[in-house]
């Protein structure tokens, strides 16, 4: 029973961390502009995050090393420091966007002024990280983030042509009535990046150590990463299908977070709207917690500080100060009034530049038979890992030029 509970908990964690404000914006907008043509990107990204999260969880269980420790060991001090700075800046931008996103969702519930709700969001996040044990953080945000499954019902209720949906799983060219190739490529890279955001791996591997994983937990790690991220991928696909059905025929290119709730309202009425907003609240909240903690994990693991939510704040002072600082800085950015949707587009594109430096050390370590012994990557996983890594490098090289050439995907 406990094993089942742990497994369910892990699946929920993976699902809660997978869908954040980036997915909610990029996926719905992708559907609105390209109908089902970006589904294959999500499928590919989901395979990538499953392969790499399984590897990072396996490394955490066997070697008890989280991802950022691997980065420091493989890249050395100087390059490791640069990766730390870049990763934590991407985390900070993402955290700020998530705090702003929570405020907008709260505003959709209560209608109060946004800046006051930004402050309320940051306070709620602080209280939940401070008072909840790690497993309860996973349970609260993961379990309640599952409410977003309302988008699966939404996608079905909007009655798409399922043959067209299935065709979207194979790469295809943009059709008449859609933006051109460069914008399509921008969306493909953006969606790929939003599925593979580095903080997911920092949090996942550190969470494995927080949960005291050992070699006995390897099968749970496999199931958690496979089932959890598959659910996350399906949910992202449901968002794309919902966006395609609700917005494409009406010529709408949704630019604001509140638009992402409209498909659920159109398909399921007011209950659909309420469920969609609740799901968004906990999914975005979970991502905010993950980014704040992931930054603190990165710093502590790089500099060798004591870390962990399982430790009392007095036992891990610098770690505690780090996640609080991240929340405060995120709050300051969100309070400045910058549109969270713009921040998240920015962070998603820049995250892809950091991806190779996060993913390579995981691949190298999981494929090293000296350290991993009988738990080393199988040939199949190693080949799949290298294929995904090649795609990640290609996306990293293309991200910034595409962002510039397409004016952030607008033309």
């Amino acid at each position: 029973m406990n094993a089942f509970a742990d497994l369910a908990l892990g699946i929920m964690t993976a699902l809660g961390g997978f869908v954040d404000i980036g997915e909610l914006v990029f996926a719905v907008e992708g559907g609105a502009r390209f109908q089902f043509l970006t589904l294959w990107v999500v499928a590919l990204g989901t395979v990538g995050i499953i392969v790499y999260s399984e590897m990072s969880g396996r490394i955490a269980a066997v070697l008890h090393k989280p991802t950022f420790e691997l980065i420091r060991e493989s890249q050395g001090e100087r390059r490791g420091l640069a990766i730390l700075v870049a990763s934590n800046l991407v985390n900070l931008l993402t955290c700020a966007a998530e705090i702003g996103g929570i405020a907008i969702v709260l505003q959709m519930f209560v209608g109060l002024e946004q800046r006051m709700l930004v402050l309320a969001a940051a306070v709620l996040l602080f209280l939940s990280i401070w008072f909840l044990e790690f497993r309860w953080i996973e349970r609260v945000y993961g379990l309640l983030g599952l409410i977003l499954l309302v988008y699966v019902a939404t996608a079905a209720a909007l009655q798409p042509d399922w043959r067209e949906v299935a065709r979207g799983l194979i790469p295809g060219a943009p059709r008449a009535g859609m933006p051109g190739w460069s914008v399509y490529a921008y969306f493909a890279v953006g969606l790929f990046s939003s599925v593979l955001m580095p903080y997911e791996l920092y949090f996942y591997s550190s969470g494995g150590i927080e949960d005291n994983w050992t070699e006995k937990d390897l099968s749970a790690n496999f199931l958690t990463s496979t089932v959890g991220f598959t659910l996350g991928g399906l949910l992202t696909m449901a968002l794309i299908v919902s966006g395609a059905q609700a917005f494409f025929p009406r010529g709408i290119d949704p630019q604001v977070l509140s638009s992402s709730a409209l498909p659920a309202l159109l398909a399921l009425g007011k209950p659909g709207l309420v469920f969609a907003l609740l799901g968004m609240l906990f999914a975005i909240g979970g991502a905010a917690v993950e980014t704040a903690l992931a930054s603190a994990y990165n710093l502590a693991q790089f500099f060798g500080w004591p870390w962990g939510k399982s430790k009392r704040p007095s036992q891990a002072k610098r770690f505690t100060l780090a996640w609080i600082s991240m929340l405060v800085m995120g709050l300051a950015i969100a309070m400045s009034g910058v549109n969270p949707v713009h921040i998240v587009e920015y962070s998603v594109v820049f995250a892809v530049v950091v991806l190779p430096f996060t993913y390579y050390p995981i691949l190298a370590t999981a494929g090293d038979s000296k350290s991993m012994k009988q738990h080393v990557n199988s040939r199949f996983v190693q080949v799949l890992g290298w294929l995904m890594f090649a795609l990640i490098v290609a996306a990293a090289l293309a991200a910034v030029p595409l962002m510039y050439a397409t004016h952030m995907g607008e033309s």
Binding site: V85, M108, Q255, V256, L262, L277, Y404, E410
Partner: protein
């Protein structure tokens, strides 16, 4: 020493990233036909979305808080795009740009006016149709920008 290194790297990264963002997202100086088409298309999209919003409002399908928030966000989006349409345009687009600005202002006024008229079904029905018409006309004007920019028709 490490802390100083981190701070310098963080500032450098932030400055570089901000410059890229500005360069990527904001057209500078005179507006090219492509920029005109892009901004016009976004306002067209806002007008179509506003038409959908008014239809949902008319059918009493929205909660009060959601309607208030979504209206605010739509207005912000229209205002943002209208601001970028103030830049000078090539001579052949001047009259079209004037029309786009007028339509954007009209859409903004209608969306704002839905607040005091939430219970007025007839007014909302009229607004829904007007916003859809504005969206369609803006879409056609965006097409002119595409053609002048050499991109061909692009909805």
């Amino acid at each position: 020493m490490r802390a100083i290194g981190i701070a310098i790297l963080a500032v450098l990264f932030a400055v570089a990233a901000t410059s890229f963002y500005r360069a990527a997202s904001e057209p500078t100086g005179a507006m090219s036909p492509e920029d005109f088409a892009r901004s016009t298309r976004l306002v067209a999209s806002d007008a179509h979305e506003a038409s959908l919003f008014v239809a949902l409002l008319r059918g009493d399908r929205l909660t009060h808080a959601f309607a208030k928030t979504h209206r605010e966000k739509l207005l912000e989006s229209i205002r943002d795009e209208s601001r970028s349409l103030r830049d000078p345009v090539p001579a052949e687009l001047r009259a079209h740009a004037e029309r786009v600005r007028a339509l954007a202002a009209q859409a903004e006024n209608i969306v704002a006016d839905t607040q005091p008229r939430e219970g007025d079904v007839d007014a909302l029905r009229r607004y829904e149709g007007e916003l859809a018409g504005i969206g369609d006309e803006l879409g056609e004007l965006a097409g002119i920008g595409d053609e002048l920019g050499g991109l061909g028709a692009h909805p």
